[in-house]
Amino acid sequence: MGDTRPIESERAIYEIRIRDRLDEDWSEWFDPMTLTHTSEGQTILTGPVADQAALHGLLSKISDLNLTLISVTQVE
């Protein structure tokens, strides 16, 4: 048996990089993520993600919009 403790009890902050440039007003759709743009016109969603299920829900939203996902990183 391995360690069965929750890996992360506090909300982790994730950074999700999307190829397309989303308008600012999408931030409400991806609440509570904040939305920033890179100089190459990509979009970065940054914010707390409650757990893995929430993360997958977020990724589903992205896929449902046919947005191209570039990377998902846990930043803290």
């Binding site: 409400e28 896929s63 046919n66």
Partner: protein, 909 residues
């Protein structure tokens, strides 16, 4: 027009739009995949998955069923119900038994339900194809269930799954085995040729090849993007401004949808823009619903027959048709211009805009939708929108208003689903919700939960009407009854009466309880009266569940009174009453089983077996198959299938006793002992008891006679009557016939006084055997004569046949002395030609009922087509059955099949 939006629209194959671009390269691949287990079409939204497959379905030679999935299908019961409803569109009548399951509160294991469905499909002669659209909404356990299904998918069933994400199914395995065809992102993107066809031909845009290339590059062949671009371009008429639009679009790096939706919406009149935003909260819509959501009802939800205010009625319909014609991502859900939904992607964008623009309006829009659905009687949707509006009180009120009706029609699954949808705190704060939860838990046998709910309800009872107390008392009374606590039950039932007005369904419950109580005290006449009362009360208030239940109980009282024929009629009536919309309520399971037992008494074993199997199926699904298995044990015994009888008892032992089972058949231990005793006595027609069996039966009987607290001079009471009869039987087997005769004489008197003719016959038969064992032939024959004279008019046979050799001897004497000579001869003939050997014993893979029918006809001169006509099926179906019969019998032609069946004793003469 607004009839049942949900199910019908889920099963409707979406229509083809006039501007469809036909895609022969993909259609060909679909056709090639038709014989594989699975076709998987996996790509993000807006790649034309649904359009492609609906075009294919329209033109395919084979009938193909369609099911559009939604979140609700994550409820396994709902999913399978929809799954079957979809298949029934191409194969009427399929899966009826499984559907009946879902009327019951307790679901059997998922695998059992699926196995039953799979087996039924595996018996079909034709191929079935089912499209599952929007599969990405599905999570486990429905996904697990489908995985299980794919693993044992019968050859006849082919699935087409449309999804935005690869499902968690054994795809690698299916791929490796070549059992799957896949169409993915790369395949679905519009090719250059398709883009040209779409933009220039279907949308009539006359763009240059260079412009098309630009659009294609910008949208990456994403059809939704191209469609939006085309819509925007259609309004931009001079070629120069088109070129400008395309330049702006391809030079812009914004998300395609952001750019295009703004463009498209900006080109719509203000009225349309507003309409799109406000209706974005709806999952499906029709004109009147849109009107209601936009303008609200003029009155309060309590008088829901509503009309819309300010004369805008009809406007919604007009706007929907406009959107449909303008191709603004509206998907028709039927072919009557009734129901529509937005294309998912478009709907999401609209909803996002609404949330940003007018977040505070959203709850109100949902509330209006809820009120409209309520007025139309679509409570499921009304509850959904009430919860979306955060209107908990409204949702609770909706459940409360409909719960009683659901109970009455025994639609417990729906009731439980609604109760589950409400937050726990809410249920615990509303007395009626607590009472309905208590009912649901009572029927599903969760004692703990029943008590908890009742306590909550009691505590809150000052908030509700008096009849709430009536319900609480009735449930408590039924719990007491299940605990055999008669006096509390009756007291509680009387108490309940004080709370409710005449004609209230609670009166029916009380009548059932009083009937059951009277029955338990042996007062059959009183019990019949109260049960008849229960039936008429239940009929008056349309309480179907109670009507069927009480009618079945009445039938049982009639059998006990020796009115076997009358009882058969009563059970038949119960079965007919239990037919609702072409399917049988699970509560009919008991009627089938009672019918089977009555037919068994008359030695009509084939029909008995038929009813028993159907009853067992329904009872299994209803959660209380125990008495069904015990009945099966006695049927197997009559059929001479001892091993089968023992297996049935073992099956019964594995079941937990359910609450509120109607007059449980016989104790488990008693059934086992009875079997041992009748098996121990050698009887013609059944195999001679194997060595040691008789001795073992005696040992068991002896132990039981000692261990049970029964004795021959007990005070007799109805609730122990069958045990005392068993004791007498044990005494005879243990060579103590003198004691038996004394006990039996007292039992006979009690049975006669109580009007229990059926018991009297059984007692007389045993008494005859006891006197015979004592060597007193005169008394033995006297008893037998009495028994025969009571048995003959109603056709009781098994009481005699079950007794084997000793009874044959006695019966021969009776016949020779002209005692009921005709009936005695009938019985003797039945001894000699006993229950036919179960055919299932001699074949590894037994023939199905249908196959037996076909086999029987194979012995005639009828040709294949004539057999088909006689059975009212197609020639192919007959051919299919015949092939299976040959396989099971291990033969190659009809002549061999008949000969083999003859030698196995499979034929009826």
């Amino acid at each position: 027009m607004q009839q049942v939006p949900h199910l019908q629209t889920k099963l409707y194959t979406p229509p083809i739009r006039p501007e469809l671009v036909s895609r022969p390269r993909l259609i060909e691949r679909l056709n090639a995949g038709l014989d594989r287990k699975l076709i998987l079409i996996s790509a993000p939204a807006g790649f034309g998955k649904t359009t492609l497959v609906s075009e294919w379905v329209r033109d395919c030679d084979r009938p193909i069923a369609w099911l559009s999935l939604d979140e609700g299908d994550n409820d396994f019961a709902q999913f399978v119900t929809h799954f079957i409803a979809a298949l029934q569109r191409v194969k009427p009548g399929l899966g009826e038994t499984v559907l009946a399951v879902f009327q019951s509160p307790q679901l059997p294991p998922v695998e059992a339900v699926l196995a039953s469905l799979i087996n039924e499909i595996a018996d079909l002669p034709e191929q079935l194809t089912l499209v599952l659209d929007d599969y990405h909404v599905i999570q486990s356990p429905t996904n697990q269930a489908l995985g299980f299904m794919l693993e044992c998918l019968p050859l006849q069933l082919h699935l087409v799954i449309l999804t935005r994400r690869d499902p968690h199914l054994p795809l690698a395995l299916l791929r490796a085995r070549g059992q799957m065809t896949e169409i993915r992102y790369d395949d679905l993107q519009f090719t250059r040729e398709e883009a040209v066809l779409f933009l220039n031909k279907a949308m009539g845009l006359a763009l240059t090849p260079k412009e098309i290339a630009l659009l294609e590059r910008r949208t990456e062949g994403w059809i939704a993007g191209l469609q939006l671009a085309a819509l925007a371009l259609q309004r931009t008429s001079p070629p120069q401004s088109r070129a400008e639009f395309i330049r702006a679009f391809s030079g812009d790096d914004r998300y395609v949808i952001d750019f295009l939706v703004s463009e498209v919406l900006a080109g719509q009149p203000e009225e349309v823009q507003r309409f799109l935003l406000q209706t974005a909260v709806l999952e499906r819509m029709c004109g009147p619903l849109c009107d209601a959501v936009r303008f609200g009802f003029a009155e309060s939800p309590s008088s829901p027959s509503g009309t819309t205010v300010n004369g805008a009625q009809g406007d919604g319909q007009r706007l929907l048709e406009y959107l449909d014609q303008a191709n603004l991502f509206l998907v028709p859900l039927d072919n009557r211009r009734g129901w529509y939904r937005y294309h998912h992607l478009f709907g999401d964008v609209l909803l996002r805009r609404l949330r940003r623009a007018e977040p505070s309006q959203i709850p109100e829009l949902h509330r209006r939708a809820s009120a409209w659905y309520e007025g139309e009687g679509h409570i499921d949707e009304a509850i959904h929108h009430a919860l979306a509006a955060q209107d908990l009180a409204g949702a609770a009120r909706l459940v409360e208003q409909s719960a009683l009706q659901l109970l009455i029609h025994s639609e417990l699954t729906t009731l439980i689903r609604w109760l589950d949808a409400l937050p726990d705190d809410l249920t615990r704060s509303r007395p009626w919700l607590s009472v309905y939860s208590a009912w649901a838990h009572f029927i599903t046998g969760k004692v703990e939960a029943v008590n908890q709910c009742l306590e909550v309800a009691q505590r809150l009872s000052h908030l509700a009407e008096q009849d709430l107390l009536g319900h609480i008392a009735v449930i408590r009374a039924r719990m007491a009854l299940a605990d055999q606590d008669l006096s509390s039950a009756v007291k509680l039932a009387r108490q309940a009466l004080e709370y409710v007005p005449a004609g209230h369904p609670v009166h029916g419950h009380i009548a059932v309880i009083q009937g059951q109580a009277a029955f338990m005290q042996g007062d059959l006449v009183g019990a019949s009266q109260t049960l008849s009362e229960a039936v008429s009360i239940a009929q008056d208030c349309g309480h179907l569940f109670m009507v069927v239940d009480a009618t079945t109980r009445l039938g049982y009282l009639q059998t006990l009174q020796g009115h076997l024929r009358q009882a058969l009629g009563t059970y038949q009536e119960a079965l007919q009453l239990a037919n609702v919309d072409g399917r049988k309520l699970p509560v009919a399971g008991n009627a089938h089983i009672r019918m089977a037992l009555a037919l068994r008494q008359r030695n009509e074993l084939d029909s008995a077996a038929d009813h028993l199997m159907r009853g067992l199926e329904l009872c299994k699904l209803f959660g209380n198959p125990r008495s069904g298995y015990l009945a099966l044990a006695s049927l197997r015994q009559a059929q001479g299938d001892w091993d089968g009888a023992l297996r049935a008892v073992q099956d019964a032992e594995r079941q937990r006793p359910g609450l509120g089972a109607a007059f449980d058949i016989m104790g488990m231990e008693h059934c086992r002992l009875w079997l041992a005793l009748v098996q121990g006595s050698p009887s013609a027609g059944s195999p001679q008891p194997r060595s040691g069996q008789a001795a073992q039966a005696l040992a068991e009987a002896s132990r039981w006679a000692q261990e049970s607290s029964l004795s021959t001079d007990d005070e007799l009471a109805f609730d122990r009557e069958s045990e005392h009869i068993l004791l007498a039987r044990a005494l005879i087997a243990l060579s103590r016939p003198a004691e038996a005769t004394v006990l039996l004489e007292r039992l006979l008197l009690a049975a006669k006084v109580g009007g229990r003719t059926e018991r009297a016959i059984e007692i007389l038969v045993l008494r005859a055997l006891a006197f015979q064992a004592l060597g007193d032939a005169t008394q033995a024959l006297d008893c037998l004569e009495c028994a025969l004279s009571m048995a003959e008019p109603e056709g009781y046979m098994r009481f005699f046949l079950d007794e084997g050799q000793a009874m044959i001897v006695l019966m021969r004497q009776a016949a020779s002395r002209d005692i009921a000579p005709e009936y005695a001869r009938t019985l003797l003939a039945a001894f000699v030609k006993p229950a036919r050997e179960m055919p299932s014993q001699s074949l590894i893979d037994p023939l199905s009922e249908r196959e037996c029918q076909v086999l029987q006809l194979l012995t005639t001169d009828l040709s294949g087509p004539e057999i088909a006509e006689k059975l009212m099926v197609s020639v192919n179906t007959v051919r299919f059955h015949t092939k299976n019969i040959y396989g099971k019998l291990g033969v190659n032609n009809r002549r061999q099949a008949v000969a083999r069946a003859e030698s196995l004793g499979l034929l009826r003469h």
